[in-house]
Symmetry: C2
Subunit: 353 residues, 2 copies
């Protein structure tokens, strides 16, 4: 029984509309179905479309994030069981980092194929526990089930002072747009890992061993910027933030659409931090390294907007990279190397598309 206030062509499938529209659809259905529920206030809706959900705990927010990882969709074959376990923790912790929250627990629900060797289960859990220790978060609970493929469903819990929480909305014209590290490195790694075997062989021959090692590590053992997120939230100078999981362009779009009408963001192509190793891989594949930074994700760096006056000392303290400016144009734009301004498409990795 589709609700009558949402018009739609008949016989639509999930794959016809894509992940972000699906979430918007869910939000409007929640509101339509339960207009008088005390849970569904404006804050609730803001929180639902942010990196993690916020629940009121007096002077603090409980921050809750969930990420479901499916072997077939999210885990390259070259990943070891331990690395798979590490990744499910990192993707959740990264969402906590994006809100400036201190982790207080991690819950893991596992779907396990019945023929999974016990050794492999042990190694996955070693990875989970290793990452939990790394981020100083306890593995607090979970559930196990039999499934056809490996499923790692993680829930990260954190707390943050209400005054300090980092949200996707809040950017003001004039703020500096910045990122916490180089972009496109994980993209380069995945381009290598997901290449067909003959291409991979050529890349192995042509790329520097140190480049191969670096890009693979970024793709397979990404690190969440947890300490940076907590410390940046503490400064009070960050006006909005998110983590870069779907590519810079997509995340810039998130900040723009979460903010008040009229807020836009302009990026400067020459400022986007692309390391020589990423250029080397892009060159070898005859691709544009800028695309790796803009339209690919998985770097788990943070995207921030910062008050202009505070930026220079934060830049030094946290090694931030300025990549653009918040405008009042309402648009997403990018200024290319020749100084020409183009519209920036908010595309990135989306499920169901």
């Amino acid at each position: 029984m589709p609700s009558k206030d949402i018009k739609q062509p008949k016989n639509l499938k999930i794959s016809d509309i894509g992940e972000k529209k699906l979430i918007k659809r869910l939000l409007s259905r929640s509101r339509a179905l339960q207009p008088n529920s005390p849970f569904f206030d404006d804050f609730y809706f803001k929180s639902l479309s942010d990196d993690a959900a916020l629940i009121d705990l007096d002077d603090k927010y409980l921050v809750v994030t969930a990420d479901l990882i499916l072997e077939s969709a999210h885990l390259p074959q070259d990943m070891s069981p331990k690395e798979k376990g590490m990744k499910v923790v990192t993707v959740n912790v990264s969402d906590l980092a994006a809100m400036g929250a201190k982790p207080i627990g991690f819950i893991l629900s596992l779907g396990l194929p019945g023929d999974l060797p016990l050794d492999e289960f042990d190694e996955i859990m070693d990875g989970v526990l290793y990452s939990c220790q790394n981020y100083e978060i306890g593995l607090t609970g979970g559930d196990t089930n039999q499934s056809d493929e490996l499923i790692l469903s993680g829930t990260g819990l954190g707390v943050v002072d209400k005054k300090k929480v980092l949200m996707k909305d809040g950017a003001s014209p004039g703020d500096v747009v910045a990122v916490t590290g180089p972009l496109g490195v994980a993209a380069a790694g995945f381009e290598f890992l997901l290449s067909p075997p003959p291409v991979k062989e050529v890349l192995k021959k042509n790329l520097k061993p140190s480049t191969l090692k670096l890009i693979k590590k970024h793709a397979i053992e990404p690190q969440a910027r947890l300490n940076e997120g907590i410390m940046l939230a503490d400064t009070g100078a960050v006006t909005s933030a998110t983590d870069i999981t779907d590519g810079l362009a997509s995340e810039v779009g998130e900040l723009v659409s979460a903010s008040e009408n009229g807020v836009g963001i302009t990026l400067y192509e020459t400022l986007i931090p692309i390391i020589p190793e990423v250029e080397e891989v892009a060159h070898a594949l005859n691709k544009d390294p800028l695309d790796f930074a803009l339209y690919y994700g998985e770097d788990f760096e943070l995207l921030l907007t910062v008050e202009k006056d505070d930026f220079s000392h934060l830049k030094d303290q946290f090694g931030l990279y300025e990549v653009g400016v918040v405008t009042s144009s309402g648009k997403m734009e990018i200024v290319n190397k020749d100084g020409k301004t183009n519209l920036l498409e908010s595309k990135g990795y989306q499920h169901f598309k």
Copy 2:
């Protein structure tokens, strides 16, 4: 790299050891890998093997539970999309109920097949929202992903006063063992729903329509005993509790193994609440209705131990059924109709077996 302190035959698979041993294995690995972590204290381990995890929030516990539902493993074909959505909320809320916790939020991660009709997605979400409203819990966040089969991964969050929390341990010899409602009703429903078509036809002819309706409703639209859990925790007279998801025998085993050495439980066959409808179905299938109550789950009633002096007024207030007594035998026993005492096996539904 399996840790050296856990001896095991080579080439074991997940299906060789079963769910409960898998969780014990994980617990001992956590302790072995991180002996000095501040997270892994005794309380942490107690909490990890309970219905939900507990996280310290000053005078309260944050209660966190996770349940992963896979269409192929957990959802009968006769279930409508709306009922599937309702179920993922109920299984999580039932774990909160078992700890006496008030729900504060529900997080849902969805795995969705790309060809899932959008109408069906809407109906699933209607079920989720309907149940959330029913239990007065907000749908606080989530994640969507493409997957081969429908996956509903829920996380329930609740809070409970530290002094009032209901745990699996705590039963003392002399306590009354009780349940909040009749058992085996969902089992009867699943026996019908999962019957091969010819058997189903016969059952449809031979069972009373009111029986069919009742057992199907219990299997397909189970209700968590949330208010009962919260109010029972408030009384301070409940010494231990869990929800009955895997059958009475299995859950009795959970209470016994969580308690101090020497605590046992004796059930009385004649006291176990089995309604005539369940007897009718068992009779039609030539099965023992007691098996439905003991070794099947999904009723989502609560199993409690209660101080003897408080039982009679709680019984009236909450409609409890006395089913046995806590002993100091260290054993699980059942007294049959003829007064003979037999050992009770702690078996029930287990994944991977």
